[in-house]
Amino acid sequence: MTDFLTPFLMQSAVQAITPILLASLAGVLCGRVGVFNMALEGQMLIGAFAAVVGSYFAHSAAVGVLAAIAATIAFSLILAYGATVFRGDAVVICIGMNLLASGLTAYLLRAMFDVSGTFSDPSLVGLSRIRVPVLQAIPILGWGFARQTAITWGAWVLVVIVTLLLFKTPTGLRLRGVGEEADAAETLGVDVRRYRVVTVLASGALVGLAGAQLSLGAVTVFAEDMTAGRGWIAVVAVMLGRGHPVYSAAACALFGFADAVGLRLQGQGLPNQLTDIAPYVVTLAALALSHRRARAAVSA
């Protein structure tokens, strides 16, 4: 097993999971408060671009991360207000946001840096890795975390924080209530609108972190549409995990693991197009197996 799952492989896997994990936490929070967030892909792209812009002009990864968070929160205002105050259809708004993110980042890439396709520059400062030598001795799991960015560590800590928040604090209780029966929450004096807006914006910050990890975490580069479906995989992970932060995180880990295994098998001749689709196929199968047969009642 250990020569199949090499230290390098585990490290890449954990690194790759990070953006998806953060995005899925964001998806969990939005879902729990009653806003269906399908715009994770677009939000992550905005974050990735803003991180590169911040890092480029300030020559600092930290500024890049802050820029990513700020930009994604601003971008998330569209969903936050669109789906609550303006009562728009969350699905349509999310589709629009994804397309806006794709077009806007591509446009600004050309307008600001005069390149198209990808942008990389020596003055870009990437995120530094935290080395924990003792972990190198622990096979598989230890290898995964021996050299990761602060964001990666933060992501897993956030899983714990979000879980505690949702299930052990008054804020979490109210958040869940708002998502389940907004009417009931309203009559008990809980401001539904405020909870939804704040939650969407806060989760936007999480996706901003995801974007920063994506463009500054491994190779420091921005490429058009570089999120390449990771946001959608996060949406799927939230579905598989039924909106529970720990189960969604487990789903992310499952996907990351499958991806890593796929990469390994690639080296043995399995074409990457087929391994790329593994998360989607796995999810379809899992959804099919976990849903009982639709009732005899005719459903819409």
């Binding site: 259809d89 397309l99 077009g103 806007l104 446009y107 087929l274 989607y280």
Partner: protein
């Protein structure tokens, strides 16, 4: 209240004006002249010389608009257009390579095969909802990524034309290619136009059109009235995927004459078509109008990039702004289910 006070401009128009203003600001940011940029878009789309280009772009875009509009009319959403389109494109290319047949028959058979293949693949998503309670929103998307991956693999390995170094199939036999009309416009345009007419007529005057529209307004009402909802979902998705598959085959047999990996997806016909359909709530005539508008916008965008060096992705940004504006201010897209 005076009559003038009650006159409010149609929301779509306000949205477009808003988008134009925001777009103009973006153009200024990149250091160019907005007026010039927009003039280039309009000229690039509608000038008589450029019209064939616009029509050629409009053909697949309006096709994908129709594909998205049909389920939307019934309150369902098909996000799998990309997958259905490439399935159709590959089946069309392969069918024409494998079935030796004279002239128009070859093309016709290939188109039919592509249509059926796309339809079946889309129906799979509906079946996922009926049998496994997987929302069509999710299953159509997941299946789409899967199809794109499998088709990509097939084109790069078993079906690859090894004489070229590129991920593409062999050239389609001349007999199977769609005849050219003017410039880049081929007979595929007529096919899509005919499909559009058919969709409009069915929506307005056929029983199944009525039943689909009622489902879109209130699915429980339709079911209670005796409409067979499961069959209807399968049918609507089949029709949707069939058109998407047809579009794929038309692009392959009418323009590129081979299936090139990724070429069907780069122009983003599916998403633009979906947005056009959403703008009209699935209503065919409105959706087609929106689709034509987007096609003109995007074709103009190419011209704008050539002439003013403003990146053409601006047009996609404009589209997104229009959609977001309408979604937020006018409850666009609120579906019954």
């Amino acid at each position: 209240m005076s009559a003038v006070g009650r006159l409010r401009p149609p929301p779509a128009l306000v949205a477009i004006v808003f988008a134009v203003l925001v777009g103009g600001a973006l153009v200024l940011v990149s250091g160019a002249n907005p007026i010039q940029a927009y003039a280039a878009i309009v000229g690039g789309a509608l000038a008589p010389d450029n019209l064939p280009n616009t029509l050629n772009w409009a053909t697949p875009l309006v096709g994908m608009t129709l594909a998205a509009a049909i389920p939307l009319r019934g309150g369902m959403i098909n996000l799998g257009g990309d997958g259905q389109m490439v399935v159709g494109g590959l089946v069309g290319a392969t069918a024409s390579l494998l079935l030796p047949a004279p002239g128009p028959l070859a093309a016709t058979l290939a188109l039919i095969a592509a249509t059926v293949a796309g339809g079946l693949y889309a129906a799979l998503a509906a079946w996922g909802q009926i049998r496994f309670a997987i929302p069509m929103l999710i299953s159509s998307l997941l299946l789409s990524y899967t199809a794109v991956g499998i088709v990509s693999y097939l084109v790069r390995f078993p079906l690859r034309d090894t004489t070229t170094g590129l991920p593409q199939t062999a050239l389609v036999p001349v007999a199977a290619r769609l005849p050219t009309l003017v410039g880049p416009v081929n007979a595929g345009m007529l096919v899509i136009a005919a499909v559009a007419a058919l969709v409009i007529v069915i929506d307005r005057r056929a029983v199944i059109g009525y039943e689909l529209r009622m489902r879109g307004l209130n699915a429980r009402f339709a079911g209670y009235g005796g409409v067979r909802l499961d069959q209807q979902a399968l049918g609507a998705m089949f029709a949707s995927g069939a058109i998407a598959g047809l579009v794929g085959a038309i692009v392959v047999l009418g323009g590129q004459f081979r299936f090139i990996d990724g070429a069907l997806l780069t122009p983003a016909y599916t998403w633009s078509g979906l947005m056009a359909a959403l703008l009209a709530g699935g209503e065919p005539v409105g959706a087609i109008a929106a689709g034509l508008f987007f096609a003109a916008l995007q074709t103009g965008g190419f011209a704008m990039q050539r002439e003013t060096s403003v990146p053409r992705v601006l047009t996609l940004v404009l589209q997104a702004i229009v959609i977001l504006f309408l979604a937020m201010r006018h409850g666009l897209g609120k579906r019954s289910s």
